[in-house]
C-alpha cells in the first residue's frame, strides 16, 4: 500500500508542486494570553508565523519537544482553537474566515485522533453511541437500522469485535480504545485527520498494531494525515515528509528519508542523535550531541533564532536576526543562518 503511496508522491520540489495541495497554512499565529500580576497580560506565542502545505494523500509528520507547539498547530488548523492571525486554506477555502455556524461541513472533512484514549472517550457512552454520535451530527444515517449497520461496519473496519458495540470504554484495553477513537474519526468519511500522538500512550507491543490500522485506513479511505509525535522512530516509518518544530517555529521541513540522512538544522541533528537506538552495537558506540539546558519559556523567547541559547554553533548573527525559512534544494526547507555549512 505505502509503496503505492510513495509512487504517487514523488520526491523533489518540482514534482511536488504538481501535487494537489489539500491544506495550505499561511503565516499562522496562535497566541494565548496569560494574566500576569498587576493586571498586565502577557502572551504565549505557541505557534508563531508558520507556513507550509500538506499534499493530498500524504502523511506529514510534526516532531518536537513538549512546548514546541506541535499540538497547538494541529488544533489551530482544525479551528479547535481560533487562530490569532494567518490563514488555513482547506481545498481552496480559507477556513479561518468562516463563521462559526458555517463550519459544520468543514468539520465533516477533518477529524482529530487524540493522544490519550482514556481521556478522549466519554466513559458514560457506549461504543455505538460514541461512534454513532458522529453519524448523527452530520446526519449520515438514514434510519436506525442503517445507523446500526454503519456502526457495525466501522467497528469491523478498525478491527474491533462488533459484539462489543454496547460496551463502555472502561471495558477495553488502551489499544482497543484507540481503535474506537479511530472508528469515531473515520465515521464521517473525512479527508484529513490530525493524529496527535496516537500511539504514545500505548504499550510497545500494541503500537505496531495501531500504526498498521492507521495506514490501512489511509489506503482504503484515501486519507491525508498530519501526524504529530515526539517519537522519531514512529515518524520515520509513517511519514512522507516531516516538519521539526521548536518554540512555535518550524525549523526544518523535508522528506522523511532525507531528514534522517541529511539533517541541516542543528536542532534536528541533536534530536536525531538523542533517540535511543534499539541496537546495542550502534547505541554504545555513537557520539551523542547533548543539547545544553532546556526549551526556553515561550512567554519570553530568545531574540533572533529561538534555538540559539542551546545551539552549539550559535554566533552573533543568530542573536540579532531571525533566520529565514528557506529552501535548500529538493523541497528541503530550513530556518538556520548556517544551514548547509555546519
Amino acid at each position: 500500500m505505502t509503496n503505492n503511496k510513495s509512487k504517487n508522491f514523488p520526491s523533489g520540489n518540482t514534482s511536488a508542486q504538481k501535487q494537489d495541495v489539500l491544506v495550505e497554512v499561511k503565516n499562522l499565529k496562535q497566541y494565548f494570553s496569560i494574566r500576569k500580576s498587576l493586571g498586565k497580560t502577557n502572551s504565549i506565542k505557541a505557534v508563531d508565523n508558520v507556513s507550509f502545505k500538506i499534499y493530498k494523500g500524504e502523511t506529514l509528520g510534526l516532531v518536537g519537544e513538549s512546548g514546541s507547539g506541535k499540538t497547538t498547530l494541529g488544533r489551530s488548523i482544525l479551528r479547535i482553537y481560533e487562530p490569532t492571525s494567518g490563514q488555513v486554506v482547506f481545498s481552496g477555502i480559507d477556513i479561518t474566515k468562516l463563521q462559526k455556524g458555517k463550519l459544520l461541513p468543514y468539520r465533516k472533512k477533518t477529524q482529530y485522533i487524540f493522544q490519550d484514549p482514556y481521556a478522549s472517550l466519554d466513559p458514560r457512552m457506549t461504543v455505538s453511541d460514541i461512534v454513532g454520535e458522529a453519524l448523527d451530527i452530520h446526519k449520515l444515517a438514514s434510519s436506525k437500522k442503517d445507523r446500526a449497520e454503519k456502526i457495525r461496519d466501522l467497528l469491523k473496519l478498525v478491527g474491533l469485535n462488533t459484539e462489543h458495540a454496547s460496551r463502555y470504554p472502561h471495558e477495553f484495553s488502551g489499544g482497543q480504545r484507540q481503535r474506537i477513537g479511530i472508528a469515531r474519526a473515520i465515521a464521517v468519511e473525512p479527508e484529513f485527520i490530525v493524529c496527535d500522538e496516537p500511539v504514545s500512550a500505548l504499550d510497545v507491543s500494541i503500537r505496531a498494531q495501531i500504526i498498521n490500522t492507521l495506514e490501512e485506513m489511509q489506503e482504503r479511505l484515501h486519507l491525508t494525515y498530519l501526524f504529530i509525535s515526539h517519537d522519531l522512530g514512529v515518524v520515520r516509518h509513517t511519514c512522507d515528509r516531516v516538519g521539526v518544530m521548536y518554540l512555535g517555529h518550524i525549523v526544518e521541513l523535508v522528506e522523511a528519508e532525507e531528514l534522517y540522512k541529511n539533517p541541516l538544522h542543528p536542532y534536528t541533528q541533536a534530536l536525531l542523535t538523542a533517540i535511543p537506538e534499539p541496537d546495542p552495537e550502534v547505541a554504545k558506540k555513537r557520539n551523542r550531541i547533548i543539547l545544553k539546558g532546556e526549551i526556553p519559556s515561550p512567554v519570553n523567547p530568545p531574540s533572533g533564532c529561538k534555538f540559539r541559547t542551546r545551539c552549539p554553533y550559535a554566533k552573533d548573527v543568530c542573536e540579532k536576526e531571525v533566520p529565514e525559512f528557506k529552501e535548500y534544494g529538493n523541497g528541503h526547507y530550513v530556518a538556520c543562518h548556517f544551514a548547509g555549512k555546519l
Partner: protein
C-alpha cells in the same frame, strides 16, 4: 567468581484485590553483580516495577511477597528487622522514579530534602557539612548554581532538573545499587539524553550497580550490560544485551524487536504482536504469552515452560527450546 550484589530467587508477589489474587510477580529469579547495569524490559503489568519494589520493601497492602528470597550483599532481606531494612533502603539501595514531581515534597526546599537523605545516612552531621555535601551532590548531577538552587522548591525546577535533584537525593547515601524506574519516560528526548548520559557518568565515577526498568528497548540497548525481558509476571528471557538484541530467542522478545518502527523502512508494513495485553486476574494455565504467540503449541497452553540455556549462554523460558520440540514446525498450530 565475582560475588553477587543482589540475588533474587523465585520471588512471588501478589496483590489481593476484591476481584481476586493478582499475581504481579510469579516466580522471578535473577542476580546482579556489583557495578553492572541490568535492564528490565516489559510492558505495563509485566511485573517489572513490582519485582524491584520488593527489594526496597515498597510493597504495600493489598500486595504481599508470598514466596521466594531476596539476598542483598549477602544478607537476606526478608529476615531483616525494620531498622535494618530502613538502613538498606536509602543507604545501600536507592531508587529514582518516573515522575519526579510526585516523589519530591512540594512544601520543602530541594536542600531540605537532600539534607534528609544525608541525615538518614550519617546520623549526626553538622549543618556546614550538610551544606557542603549537598552542594557537591548538586554539582555532581549537573545542576548549575547549586547554592542558590538548594533553597528553591520543587515547582521552581523543570522536569529534567527535578529528575537531577532526585538523583542527587538518591546518591546522598552512596548506594551500592540504584533502581531507576522509567527514569526518563516523562521527559523529552533531548532531556532524556542528558539524564542517560548523567547516569552513565555517575555510574563510571561511583561504580554502583543500576537496575534500569523501562519499556524502551532503545534505552536498554544504550545503557544495559544484561537484559531481562518480563511478561505476565515472569522472566521470559535473560541474557547479555548483545545476545538479546542480536539473537532474541523467545517469541515475545522477537516480536517486540521486530515490531519496532525504527528498523523497518517506510512502506514496509510493521509486524505487530497480535492480541491484547495480558489480564493478570485471569492468567493462562500455561505460558502467559501463549494466547498471543505465533509458535504456540499444545503444551504451551497447559504447562508452564521451564528455563532453557541456549547455545550462546542466555536463558529463555519457552517450550520451543525443549528437546522434544525439535520438529516445532510440525507441532505448531496443530490445534
Amino acid at each position: 567468581m565475582i560475588k553477587e550484589l543482589l540475588k533474587i530467587n523465585d520471588l512471588k508477589v501478589s496483590f489481593f484485590t476484591p476481584a481476586g489474587e493478582v499475581k504481579a510477580v510469579n516466580g522471578v529469579s535473577y542476580s546482579l553483580e556489583p557495578g553492572k547495569v541490568l535492564g528490565i524490559v516489559g510492558e505495563s503489568g509485566s511485573g517489572k516495577s513490582v519485582s524491584s519494589y520488593s527489594i526496597m520493601g515498597l510493597i504495600d497492602k493489598p500486595g504481599k511477597i508470598v514466596g521466594g528470597s531476596i539476598v542483598f550483599d549477602g544478607k537476606d532481606v526478608s529476615t531483616m528487622t525494620k531498622a535494618q531494612r530502613q538502613n538498606l533502603a536509602g543507604n545501600e539501595v536507592a531508587m529514582i522514579f518516573q515522575d519526579p514531581m510526585t516523589c519530591l515534597n512540594p512544601v520543602f526546599t530541594i536542600g531540605n530534602q537532600i539534607a534528609e537523605s544525608l541525615i538518614h545516612k550519617y546520623g549526626k552531621i553538622s549543618k556546614e557539612e550538610i551544606k557542603k555535601r549537598s552542594i557537591e551532590l548538586m554539582a555532581l548531577v549537573g545542576i548549575n548554581e547549586p547554592e542558590k538552587r538548594l533553597s528553591q522548591y520543587p515547582h521552581e525546577f523543570s522536569g529534567g532538573m527535578r529528575q537531577r535533584a532526585m538523583i542527587a537525593m538518591a546518591l546522598a547515601g552512596s548506594p551500592k545499587l540504584l533502581i531507576a524506574d522509567e527514569p526518563t519516560t516523562a521527559l523529552d528526548v533531548t532531556i532524556q539524553a542528558q539524564i542517560l548520559e548523567l547516569l552513565k557518568d555517575i555510574q563510571k565515577k561511583t561504580g554502583m550497580a543500576i537496575i534500569l526498568i523501562t519499556h524502551d528497548l532503545g534505552i536498554v540497548a544504550d545503557m544495559a550490560d544484561d537484559v531481562i525481558v518480563m511478561y505476565g509476571g515472569k522472566i521470559v528471557e535473560q541474557g547479555s544485551v548483545y545476545n538479546i538484541f542480536n539473537a532474541p530467542q523467545h517469541p515475545y522478545t522477537k516480536g517486540l524487536i521486530r515490531s519496532l518502527p525504527d528498523l523497518s523502512k517506510k512502506g514496509e508494513k510493521l509486524i505487530p504482536i497480535q492480541g491484547n495485553p495480558i489480564d493478570l486476574l485471569n492468567l493462562p494455565q500455561g505460558c502467559a504469552f501463549a494466547p498471543r504467540c505465533e509458535n504456540c503449541m499444545k503444551v504451551c497452553i497447559k504447562h508452564m515452560p521451564e528455563e532453557y540455556l541456549t547455545a550462546d549462554g542466555h536463558r529463555v523460558s519457552c517450550w520451543l527450546y525443549d528437546s522434544r520440540a525439535n520438529n516445532s514446525t510440525e507441532v505448531k498450530n496443530n490445534d
